[in-house]
């Protein structure tokens, strides 16, 4: 037994008493060092020396959202091609070098950004950064490798037709943004668009986009500013250029009232249900109201959607909602995979919950729980080096203020019930939702029609 006298030992235990948590310790966030390399690239470094590891991300604004739909998939295909041979190393040699360093490495593109990411034990940082420099500045982009990577990609797109969740995501994006908008297309592109992409397209995309003036190196971990500066200067000397990133201005279809779209998947064991609409920008002034609103609706385990559809009714393994916030208004999506016979009831419950948020004020206690959940969890968002990089990259990408994370908690805690309701009225109007069901049409269509919402059938090609 413990020899240390404890202040607790004298008090008898009463299990009906819920322990209070008191005031949480303040999260002290280190300020990143910011500097610019002579090649024009910006650097943000958060030093942390508790483990011998460094995470590096080269962040470029502009991604699939800045690519015409005829070239859908070009941004991600170019990202995939960067490490298929670079700086005189073959694709295999490059892979072997990184494996030998025990490094984690990838290059990806999203709708608004492209990223080359590295995670490596700090003693091996110099070698790994040399590979990263080759990949960014001198990718070979060989025709033969492109043919292979493109073929793999086309077969991946084929395979995703088997995944109901993926089918639902693509169909909903297309319904919300229309087939002419880059955000209405899968990041991976289509078999047709991929087939039309030439090596010249990839070479041009790389030359135009991957320029040092566009890059921010976000670095966290076991390296000092002086050492990092020297490593980066050496490797990126002589590289130059900068392009203005231009998004594509593109009209989006006006929703004509709430409609249920059905994509048939005969004999499916479940229906993938989505309810969505175009909602808020990441830069919206009511950002924190939206965060609180979504936490109440579907961002946490005890949120209304999960409480009703899972914990009350057992319809699903989980129901969630997300505001996919981008520089321009991104989609709000509520989602659940549910047992086929309860598909119509699920749609009804989701629409009911949206209506309730629009029409009724949120109880004070529920709002308080939601705000505390998000605010008090903040330390966990700064735990691993990858978390730190993601947090800083978010600031860079969306132009958030320097003190953004330092003021995050008070800003969130200041949200009140009126603001939550106003956000619901702005973004969750149940009369303008796009409902999508990927499921067994024969088993669900009639009951969906009973909801008295127009039902439209989609074909896979149209979706």
């Amino acid at each position: 037994m413990s020899q240390t006298p404890s202040p607790l030992s004298g008090r008898p235990l009463d299990r009906t008493y819920v322990p209070t948590t008191g005031v949480p310790a303040r999260l002290v966030l280190p300020e990143p060092d910011c500097f610019t390399l002579s090649c024009g690239a910006a650097v943000r470094l958060l030093e942390r020396h508790d483990l011998p590891v460094v995470a590096v991300e080269a962040l470029l604004p502009g991604g699939a959202g800045a690519t015409p739909v005829a070239h859908a998939g070009l941004a991600t295909l170019t990202a995939d091609m960067l490490d298929e041979g670079a700086g005189g190393r073959s694709a295999l040699a490059l892979a072997r070098t990184l494996d030998g360093l025990g490094a984690g490495f990838d290059s990806v593109a999203g709708y608004e950004d492209s990223r080359v990411r590295l995670w490596v034990l700090s003693p091996r940082l110099p070698e790994a950064l040399s590979v990263m420099a080759d990949v960014l500045m001198r990718p070979t982009l060989a025709s033969d490798e492109l043919d292979r990577v493109r073929c793999e990609r086309m077969d991946t797109v084929l395979q995703l037709r088997d995944e109901p969740g993926s089918l639902a995501a693509d169909a909903l994006a297309s319904l919300l943004y229309g087939p002419g908008h880059p955000w209405g297309q899968s990041l991976l592109g289509t078999r047709a668009s991929l087939g039309g992409i030439t090596r010249d397209d990839v070479v041009r995309y790389h030359a135009e986009r991957y320029q040092p003036g566009n890059i921010t190196f976000v670095v966290a971990g076991d390296v000092t500013e002086a050492v990092l500066r020297e490593l980066l200067e050496e490797r990126f000397a002589g590289w130059e250029g900068r392009t203005e990133s231009s998004g594509i201005e593109c009209a989006v279809p006006e929703p004509d009232g709430t409609v249920v779209h059905v994509l048939d998947r005969p004999r499916a064991a479940q229906s993938e249900v989505r309810v969505g609409r175009i909602s808020a920008s990441r830069c919206t002034p009511d950002y924190f109201s939206v965060v609180a609103l979504n936490t109440i609706l579907g961002g946490a385990f005890t949120s209304r959607l999960n409480a009703r559809l899972r914990e009350e009714k057992g319809f699903t393994y989980g129901a969630h909602s997300t505001f996919h916030m981008r520089r321009s208004p991104g989609p709000f999506i509520a989602r659940a995979a549910v047992h086929t016979p309860v598909t119509d009831q699920t749609v009804r419950v989701i629409l009911e919950e949206l209506t309730r948020l629009v029409e009724e004020p949120v109880p004070e206690g529920e709002l308080e729980r939601a705000k505390r959940y998000v605010a008090l969890r903040l330390p966990q968002a700064f735990e691993a080096l990858g978390d730190l990089v993601t947090r800083i990259a978010e600031q860079v990408l969306y132009g958030l203020p320097e003190d953004y994370w330092a003021t995050y908690v008070p800003q969130l805690l200041a949200v009140d019930r009126q603001e939550v309701r106003a956000a619901a009225q702005r973004y969750l109007d149940p009369q303008s939702m796009t409902v999508l069901v990927v499921g067994d049409r024969a088993a669900i269509e009639e009951r969906l029609r009973g909801l008295e919402i127009p039902v439209r059938l989609l074909t896979e090609e149209a979706a």
């Binding site: 949480p24 508790d50 295999l92 034990l121």
Partner: protein, 434 residues
């Protein structure tokens, strides 16, 4: 370069047998609470399947002093999250939150360890049974290739073996579970003597110990799961089967009984898996995906567990591609390792990747695979919570000869071979005699 992957800890045991491990990490004002129970789906044998996992769901539904729904509401109000998982051999639960939520977390964990049944009722069971059946539909039945693994396991481990059935259980068993099954399960397996508690984060040992004694000290001990010895099973005869599924590309599954976890052989199999199919320059990826381009992807892994292990290779064909020629290449490459051995460079690569993975795992105090979870895992399966260094050494010491021997075992042993093919395309299966 020698990297230290140690997780320092203080260990004590309560009078009722609860093993407690505390690891201080003051990088952030956070705490992780992690509980392991020595029961998994393997302990269901003989009997209905899926009960261990269904039971895990019920652990979040409240206990004597925690009303239904309050478990997660209280945690979320404190900025904490929770989850749990069930494997063949054990069930684990974690709570991650700000450091000041430690006492709340211990109150919740102790209440469900000691007093779950007082608050159990038919409604909770009915709802979670439906949730789990939907989990099964979502993660297995409605997923491409989703039924492959349970088909392989059923062939690889004979009926009566703890690994014969899937952790989530068979649909009809989940549906048939009764309140009495739940009560019996709790009384048999859930108690301090059959559990261990690991706490990591911004805490002190003294205060943590006082809190643990306060909340867990008066729980009745219960009984400890008798330690099941690693059990050798009859090697299966070569079994071939074909599964038609809603898939575009055919996929070949090759599986063998290999070695149990934390053995030398387990490490050698893990290295063999990396040499064969980790990254473009690995042997099978290079040949099938990169050079011949006859496969869409290939993966290999060793999965060591308490009562045996599985080594598996999966290869996905290209559209219209058959699986027989892919199987032939896999067997040829296995034979090549068994005959000609591996290069020093391949071993060095594997060691570098494994070492990095060990360091990566030190980044988080909680959640699945975080430091608290690993302390509990090492305690449960090796008896030594401080096993991290020795665990990495196990991999560092794998010799070329050991890798050759594991490859030789695979060449000599019967494999379970499953072909998953698009509906109506049994012609794509490998020796489709099923």
């Amino acid at each position: 370069m020698q990297i230290d992957v140690d997780i320092p800890f203080t260990r004590f045991q309560l009078a009722n047998g609860l093993d407690v491990l505390v690891h201080e990490d003051h990088r952030l004002p956070s705490v992780a609470v992690n509980v392991w129970y020595q029961v998994g789906s393997g302990h269901e044998v003989p009997g209905p399947t899926g009960l261990a996992h269904l039971f895990e769901h019920l652990m979040f539904e409240g206990s004597a002093h925690v009303p239904a729904g309050a478990f997660d509401e209280l945690l979320e109000s404190a900025g904490a999250t929770s989850n749990g998982s069930t494997s063949n051999d054990r069930t684990n639960y974690w709570i991650n939150g700000p450091a000041n939520a430690l006492e709340l977390a211990l109150w919740l964990e102790s209440d469900r360890m000691g007093f779950l049944l007082e608050a159990m009722d038919q409604h909770k069971l009915d709802v979670q049974r439906d949730v789990v059946m939907n989990e099964r539909r979502q993660s297995y039945e409605n997923q491409p290739y989703g039924l492959a693994w349970e088909t392989v396991a059923a062939s690889l481990y004979p009926l009566g073996h703890p690994y014969h059935h899937p952790v989530i259980g068979r649909m009809e068993d989940i549906e048939a579970a009764t309140l009495e099954d739940v009560r019996r399960f709790f009384r048999t397996w859930y108690s301090p003597a059959n559990a261990s508690l690991a706490i990591a984060g911004d805490v002190t040992v003294d205060r943590t110990r006082a809190l643990v004694e306060r909340y867990f000290g008066d729980l009745p001990a219960g009984r400890r799961t008798p330690r099941l010895e690693q059990r050798s099973t009859e090697p299966v005869k070569s079994r071939r089967s074909v599964l038609e599924d809603r898939v575009q590309l055919a996929r070949l599954y090759l599986a063998w009984q290999s070695a149990g976890h934390y053995t030398e052989e387990d490490a050698a199999f893990a290295v063999l898996a990396l040499v064969l199919a980790d990254g473009k320059s690995s042997r099978l990826c290079r040949r099938l995906v990169y050079e011949e381009r006859s496969a869409q992807d290939v993966v290999a892994w060793q999965s060591g567990a308490l009562r045996g292990g599985t080594f598996e290779i999966e290869v996905t064909a290209k559209p219209e591609g058959g699986l027989a020629c892919l199987e032939a290449v896999v067997r040829e490459e296995l034979a090549r390792v068994a005959t000609h051995g591996v290069e020093a460079e391949e071993l060095a690569c594997a060691a570098a990747q494994l070492e990095a993975a060990f360091v990566h795992a030190l980044e988080r105090i909680g959640g699945f695979g975080g430091k608290a979870d690993r302390l509990n895992e090492y305690l449960a399966f090796t008896g030594d919570p401080g096993y991290a260094r020795a665990d990495l050494e196990r991999y560092r010491h794998v010799t070329p000869d050991q890798v050759v021997r594991t490859a030789r075992r695979l060449v000599d042993a019967h494999a379970v071979v499953l072909s998953v093919v698009p509906r109506g395309r049994r012609d794509l299966a490998s020796n489709s005699t099923a």
